[in-house]
Subunit: 398 residues, 2 copies
Amino acid sequence: MTKISKRTNQLSASPIRKFLPDVLTNEKRGIKVFKLNVGDPDITPPKEFLQAIKKFKQKNIGYAPSPGIKEHVKAWVKYYSNFNIKLKPENIIPTVGAGEAILMSMIAVADRGDEIIVFEPLYANFIGFAKIAGVKLIPITLDIKNNFALPKTSEIKKKITKKTKAIIIINPNNPTGTNFSNKEIKNLISIAKQKNLFIISDETYREIVFDTKPNSLLKFSQIKDRLIIIDSASKRFSLPGARIGCLVSLNKNISWALLKLAMIRLSAPTIEQYGLIPLLKNSKAYTKKITTEYQKRGEFVFNALSKMPGVICKKPQGAFYIMAKLPVKNAEDFIKFMLTKFNYKKQTVLLTPASEFYVSKNKGINEVRIAYVLKVSELKPAMQVLARGLEGYLKIKK
Amino acid sequence: MTKISKRTNQLSASPIRKFLPDVLTNEKRGIKVFKLNVGDPDITPPKEFLQAIKKFKQKNIGYAPSPGIKEHVKAWVKYYSNFNIKLKPENIIPTVGAGEAILMSMIAVADRGDEIIVFEPLYANFIGFAKIAGVKLIPITLDIKNNFALPKTSEIKKKITKKTKAIIIINPNNPTGTNFSNKEIKNLISIAKQKNLFIISDETYREIVFDTKPNSLLKFSQIKDRLIIIDSASKRFSLPGARIGCLVSLNKNISWALLKLAMIRLSAPTIEQYGLIPLLKNSKAYTKKITTEYQKRGEFVFNALSKMPGVICKKPQGAFYIMAKLPVKNAEDFIKFMLTKFNYKKQTVLLTPASEFYVSKNKGINEVRIAYVLKVSELKPAMQVLARGLEGYLKIKK
């Protein structure tokens, strides 16, 4: 018999899929499941995008050039200039969402067996892409009690070896909802310079920050030559299905390496590249509105969680996630309980077990990620159900 | 200084890009360049697709599920049933064009260092994706004089080692324009069964076949368990910019491996998945029309090339490419000559040097690929210019 490769055998399935049969069973039984597990915004995308799609008038839908459709790339240049970041079209390569940008950036800086430093918990698909790229992620574990702040320089340096090629940060952070301070960023930059490393900065959630202005590593000129930005239209424009992101680099060698990788897969979708042009040029009205909304939701969830006995969490600073440490031994067991043994007034909730966001084994076992992609009017019953469920679960487990 | 990875350093840039500056120089000087280098159809896509895009009414543009949007996958099932191929939705995974499907299929069957047999010349991006996947392509060279027919069983078996995991075929073929016979296919299947290999069959050009019916390895039930189909909407629906393809497998383990890989990158574009639904259900009217057109063009180019002294080529059987062996030492040098030192009535042509379609070094050096993605009314002057250019080049080189 034929066998699949060992590497795909070792890949774990997305936990979202794992719980899908349970969700369907609930829904068939008339039980509403509040889905707080996926970062799939419920908010309507900007009308500029939908209008541009409707107005799309090209007769042919040919390959976009690998370096991107000219007007689309220019629109990204304009987007960045709105944040006082000066770029040239040749610094930008449109990608099929942030996902592809993650894979390309890893391959561009690291050979098979090379190491990249990451801070865990981190966006789980970095782990999957690292397996495809054959790159070893070296995790530095952050602590929820410390609001997932970056550790001391010496702690970071300890993990750097001759094989280390880069440090990855995600800012604002998925899954923690934190936003690194300028001090933390400057510290990372000085380590990268001293140890001759690249920094790969995933800024997918750039504009979704609370009580502060959007930041970018592109604002730190010291890092110019060793920086790769991963960007995406998915979250800040509520357009994950558009599959448009981009890579930014001011290092010509890196740009050329990324472009060669981009040429292998030809291009990012043509229609969506056109669709995003008006929006990229003038996006702040939309992103301000949704940021206000997410902040309201984040505070609501934080306050609700804070009232649940034994739950540890910190006030979100950005993105639309909050991590919570639950007073349970195993968060996945609790999630399964919520889906199979519990409902309150025919309602239950689906959360993501945080263990999938850790590279290290047996970390985050009693933590969950909550994506607040529902309105407060829905988060309200969802948090009530969660509180009751937790109570019920703890009673059984005593 | 930071350095890019060795593996990206070793990647070669697409030759399309290499000649781009010369094309631009010509166009600035008022010289028309007939671009016969890229497989980017000039034909208008089906109105069903464009109408579906215009009618797109979803308020949110969320991630499509990794196994594809239900109605879209069902439309692929219907598409295949129109060719008497029975599939279930779970056999199909939509992909971001054929490109991604190529990468995923290689990773699913082969670990790093494993080998996959290919027949060269072959679609160049297989070579790039194999580098990303860390898979070694073992080429078996086909001969233009033999119209790129598959070799004897013993020749193929010679190349199979303990590390061989699969055989890749592209049918109808890019870049050769040939269509393998049932006898050739059955032979391959028996080798795959005997040696316990997968067959990865890229059928992107399935319906573009001349004087015969569309074929598919899915019609050969003996291979069911060890088959992965790479499919795409790009060529047969003239929609390369839509970035929609799919993977088909009847082997549950392979489908699961492919789905795990698909989950890492989340989804194929949402709008285009919807856009393709009406077309997939009823595509034959369109594909028949364009096949007639491509056949006309292919015959025209074949006849024109056949009249050029010293040029060797065979009548195309499918896709929209023809390979030609030129009476020159180095086809790339000739292409460069056409772009920089020659024009006839302010016209010149751009072809692709065939060497990029070979895994082996120093093969196909005097061959070119011609993509007949222009109307006969344009192919006519293009072939005249090519004939004159070849004459002029040979005079200089004597």
